[in-house]
């Protein structure tokens, strides 16, 4: 029988860089979907929250072995995974609705379907996907910063709400601090990602904290220097920032940035679902075998496609239908691939025997 620690190691084992990418991508998902204007208080709130999180995680990093997970903590992870998947999906729905994107609910359903399937794959696949995703996001952020650096207005660093007092300023910082915590769901993943390698663990957590604590405030500061005096604006500040940067006018919801936001959100939901379905120490198979309820996925997906075609929505129908069919096809494709592999293996074995 496997021990609890081994079970944990099997479930969320990945490379250091992949762990950093996973934590950052999960944070980016809610950053893209956030609905608060970029301000100095927001940047400071994230920075301070990151420092506090680092201090809280320090004792965990001093351990020489990975923390074991008992039955109770596994259930806590599962509950949190379910809650976090719902939270991210709600944030995505809110973002799509605010951007007046077509089919916001359907997009969330399809996102969930794809995330469900992705969650059934081995965790190594998620690790590789987030590594790739963060690389793409990093390149895009670099282009964004380069595209807008010429038009920065340094004076806007001193932007302030008219007639504000030091008390309101402190209150704003506190609100931003609390918000930064409420968006740091990836924090719960950290103990799951810790392996029996203290140096690797420290590198991973430091990379994540540096990326979050410096990268996000830098991006918010950049937005602040571009967004003018709209400190009371209650909209998605990131997509607003894109409208203010030349060659990035993507406020109109279509384009690379929305796809990146949706992909990050999909990854965050996938990781949450993998937490939701964390294997207990006595169960077998871990992530190699699709969950039993995965068998149900094709049915709602087929219904979604049928409903789309009944409603005669040509352009978007084809696209949404394509995604749904992909979701349906992949599990069977995987089984086909496994069968082909076993066939090949059998032939090889027979060949060896014949020789």
């Amino acid at each position: 029988m496997q021990t609890a620690t081994t079970a944990k190691t099997n479930a969320f084992a990945c490379r250091t860089a992949q762990g950093v990418a996973l934590l950052l991508v999960c944070r980016l998902a809610l950053f893209f979907c956030s609905n608060t204007a970029f301000s100095a208080a927001e940047a400071a709130g994230i920075f301070v929250a990151t420092i506090v999180q680092g201090l809280l995680l320090a004792p965990l990093l001093l351990r020489t072995d990975a923390p074991p997970h008992g039955k109770g903590s596994l259930w806590a992870y599962r509950l949190f995974g379910g809650f976090w998947a719902a939270r991210v999906l709600a944030a995505v729905w809110g973002m799509l609705t605010a951007l007046q994107a077509p089919y916001p609910r359907l997009s969330c359903v399809l996102l969930l379907l794809v995330a469900c399937y992705a969650a059934s794959l081995p965790f190594a696949a998620t690790g590789r996907a987030v590594g790739l995703l963060l690389t793409v996001a990093g390149i895009a952020f670099a282009f964004l910063l380069l595209g807008g650096v010429r038009k920065l207005e340094p004076l806007l660093l001193w932007s302030a709400h008219t007639g504000e007092t030091p008390a309101t300023n402190a209150s704003r910082l506190w609100t931003a601090f609390v918000r930064a915590w409420s968006q740091s769901g990836e924090l719960v993943c950290v103990p799951l990602l810790l392996q029996n390698a203290p140096t690797q663990n420290r590198r991973m957590v430091s990379g994540w904290l540096l990326g979050k604590g410096l990268g996000l405030p830098l991006l918010i500061g950049f937005g602040l220097l571009r967004n003018g005096r709209l400190l009371q604006w209650a909209g998605n500040p990131f997509f607003f920032l894109l409208t203010r940067v030349q060659r990035f006018a993507a406020f109109r919801t279509d384009g690379f940035w929305l796809l990146l936001a949706l992909t990050c959100a999909g990854t965050a939901v996938t990781v949450s679902l993998q937490m939701l379905a964390l294997p207990s120490a006595t169960s077998k198979g871990w992530f190699r075998v699709p969950y039993p309820w995965l068998r149900l996925l094709p049915i709602p997906a087929i219904l979604a496609v049928a409903a789309l075609f009944v409603r005669q929505l040509p352009a978007d129908g084809w696209f949404a239908g394509g995604i749904a069919l992909l979701g349906i096809g992949l599990p069977y494709g995987e089984r086909l691939w496994d069968w082909l592999q076993s066939l090949r293996q059998r032939r090889k074995t027979e060949g060896v025997r014949a020789e």
Binding site: L99, T162, F240, A315, D316
Partner: protein, 357 residues
């Protein structure tokens, strides 16, 4: 999981999917507005939309005017008239008119449009002054207001002013905003800036002041300034100075007599035109004088005459530790700007394209 569990799960998931699909917005039934006109009167606010591609004509088409007593009723009325949902994500121009556009209802209109995401924050605003915006839009539904406005910004006629900038001035500026406006000067339409506050239209800035604000804004692509000179015989000569570099900013400091001082810092370069207009030294002197006059006119007309703060003067004052900027209410800040003095702190001719500002 047994067979009954599978059936139940399937029914639940399938039912949830169908329920979620029930609320979909159909893309084909959407109308995309290219320009919107808002004419505000004390009794009602009228809106008119020009659609990007009308389903029947495939051309930009002006819709009949819609009026509503309350701002929040306008989208519903507009949609009721047109049928399909109106999508404003592609809105490029918002035409406004009315003496009291910036009164309580008028401000609420722009703010409400922005806060409810009904109006995109980056759409251009155009003031039609005393002419009804709806009338202007219905007369010229095919006009490309966005292209005209962009051309004016690129040639430094006016600064780039978007809806977000106007609302930002109202929220965290001095409560006075500058809107690009289209006016007829001797029969020729030209762009200028109208000044509005809560009491309504205050006036229109001169061409020189608008150019000065465009240079301060820094969004221009090509700027040609007329340089005038009177020769020894008393003949007036004119040459065109094409600015290669013009970086200007204003810093706000508090003087010993508690008044504000707007200090103008300027760095510029304009090549001497061929044809023996004057010597290089004379050319530099003439250009410097013209440029500083233009920028001073901009500050005098906008900040000192009307108390408008569209060049981040308050932020500059905060940066320089002016106590008033921290504590003043909007009317107080406006009064302080109106009592301010303007000085030229530096005016440097340079070949270096990069540097401060």
């Amino acid at each position: 999981m047994n067979r009954w569990g599978l059936c139940l799960g399937t029914m639940l998931l399938g039912g949830a999917t169908l329920l979620l699909l029930g609320g979909c917005t159909e893309v084909r039934d959407r109308q995309y507005a290219k320009a919107i006109a808002v004419a505000h009167t004390p009794d009602a606010t009228s809106w008119q939309a020009v659609l990007c591609c009308h389903p029947t004509t495939e051309q930009a088409t002006a819709q009949p005017t819609v009026s509503a007593e309350a701002v929040s009723l306008l989208p519903e009325r507009l949609q009721a008239q047109m049928g399909p949902a109106l999508y404003m994500g592609h809105l490029s121009t918002l035409l406004v008119s009315g003496q009291d556009l910036q009164d309580a209802a008028g401000t609420a209109l722009l703010e409400w449009g922005l806060q409810t995401h009904w109006l995109p924050p980056d759409c251009g605003v155009l003031d039609t002054l005393t002419t009804s915006a709806c009338a202007v839009l219905s007369e010229q539904p095919e006009a490309d207001w966005e292209a005209m406005r962009n051309a004016a910004v690129a040639s430094a006629q006016i600064p780039s002013r978007r809806l977000a900038d106007c609302v930002g001035d109202d929220w965290n500026g001095s409560g006075v905003t500058l809107l690009p406006c289209l006016q007829n000067t001797q029969g020729t339409p030209s762009f200028a800036l109208s000044v509005r506050d809560a009491s309504g239209l205050l006036g229109v800035l001169s061409e020189r002041a608008c150019r000065g604000l465009a240079l301060l804004g820094g969004d221009w692509k090509r700027c040609v300034l007329p340089i005038l000179q009177t020769d020894a015989n008393g003949n007036r000569q004119c040459a065109a100075a094409e600015l290669r570099i013009c970086k200007a900013f204003v810093s706000v400091v508090e003087r010993t007599d508690a008044r504000l001082e707007l200090r103008l810092h300027l760095r510029w370069d304009a090549p001497l035109p061929s044809g023996g207009f004057c010597t290089k030294a004379e050319w530099q002197s003439l250009c410097a004088t013209t440029l500083t006059d233009t920028l001073i006119a901009a500050l005098e007309e906008s900040a000192v005459r009307y108390g408008a703060d569209c060049c981040y003067l308050r932020e500059s004052a905060l940066q320089n530790g002016v106590a008033l900027a921290k504590t003043a209410t909007q009317p107080e800040w406006r009064a302080a700007l109106q009592a301010a003095t303007i000085t030229v702190a530096s005016c440097t001719q340079t070949d270096a394209p990069f540097g401060w500002g």
